[in-house]
């Protein structure tokens, strides 16, 4: 698949900026709401990446689920558990050892992985994916992976019911 055009480069760098920037925002912003917003930005970036990979369906799902569900739930959680002044609601751990080691471990792992990825040669199969991706995925899902599909359903059920079991009745009680 030939050399990337400048357009794609620009698009990719923008998306990359969104993703990484959003990610860093989650970690670095002092206000948890800002962090939340940063996360949303990041998710958007990711879905953009999916688009750029011709994974439209996934991109849409990304937006729907992550931004529509996950982010909202987390937002609720932040609301419910908020206390103190928001401006300082997203701090690092006090323990400096943890901080240093955590940073270095993460960094180390990053260096190693990046290094290895760069020096690895991939057998690129240059052929395009099916045109109507959604259909293709649906068929594949039904033929290849009916079991995970069902399990996923059960899993979501468990999660819902479980969340209720854990939290909700407490609310009634108190």
């Amino acid at each position: 698949m030939g050399e990337p055009t400048t357009g794609t480069i620009v698009v990719f760098s923008v998306l990359a900026a969104m993703v990484i920037g959003g990610g860093l925002g989650v970690v670095l912003l002092r206000n948890v709401f800002h962090a939340l917003v940063a996360m949303v930005v990041c998710f958007l970036g990711v879905s953009g990446v999916y688009f750029s990979l011709q994974a439209d369906f996934l991109a849409v799902m990304q937006v729907l689920i992550y931004i529509g569900a996950v982010a909202v739930v987390i937002a609720f959680a932040v609301m419910l558990t908020r206390r103190g002044k928001m401006s300082d609601s997203n701090r690092f751990v006090d323990n400096s050892v943890q901080l240093v080691l955590g940073t270095s471990v993460a960094g180390g792992l990053g260096v190693v992985l990046l290094g290895l990825i760069c020096e690895t040669t991939w057998q690129i199969a240059d052929k395009l994916p099916a045109t109507d991706l959604t259909r293709f995925l649906g068929e594949a899902m039904m033929t290849k992976l009916p079991i995970p599909f069902e399990i996923a359903a059960v899993l979501l059920l468990v999660a819902l019911v479980g969340a209720v079991m854990i939290a909700l009745e407490e609310v009634q009680k108190s």
Binding site: M1, P4, L58, N90, V105, I117, I124, A163, E170
Partner: protein, 102 residues
């Protein structure tokens, strides 16, 4: 279009950022968010791979669908637990949850 390693690099960076946050942030909610970031990174990986390496089957795409679902589920339960803990302890800072140790 961009070649594969760019996407991989991007996802790795995101993964690391998420990991960094997960290891160093205080609030349980934020740690959950970071885990989500890591999962997203993985998803980028998978999608990129399936796009570049097996456009025929696109197993990566399928995989991603499930990871997204699971991620949502995990967040739901996690948030529930956080809320409960917050109710008992009046805090969501992970370094306060040390009743169980030794």
């Amino acid at each position: 279009m961009m070649d594969l390693s760019c996407y991989l690099g991007l996802s790795t960076l995101l993964f690391i950022v998420g990991l960094f946050g997960a290891l160093t942030k205080r609030s349980a909610v934020v740690v959950l968010m970071c885990i989500e970031l890591m999962l997203n990174a993985v998803n980028i990986n998978l999608v990129a791979f399936s796009r570049f390496l097996d456009p025929g089957q696109l197993l990566g795409h399928l995989f991603v669908i499930f990871t997204i679902a699971v991620a949502a589920a995990e967040v739901a339960v996690g948030i529930a637990l956080v809320i409960v803990l917050n109710r008992y302890r009046d805090t969501i800072n992970l370094d306060d949850f040390t009743w169980l140790k030794g």
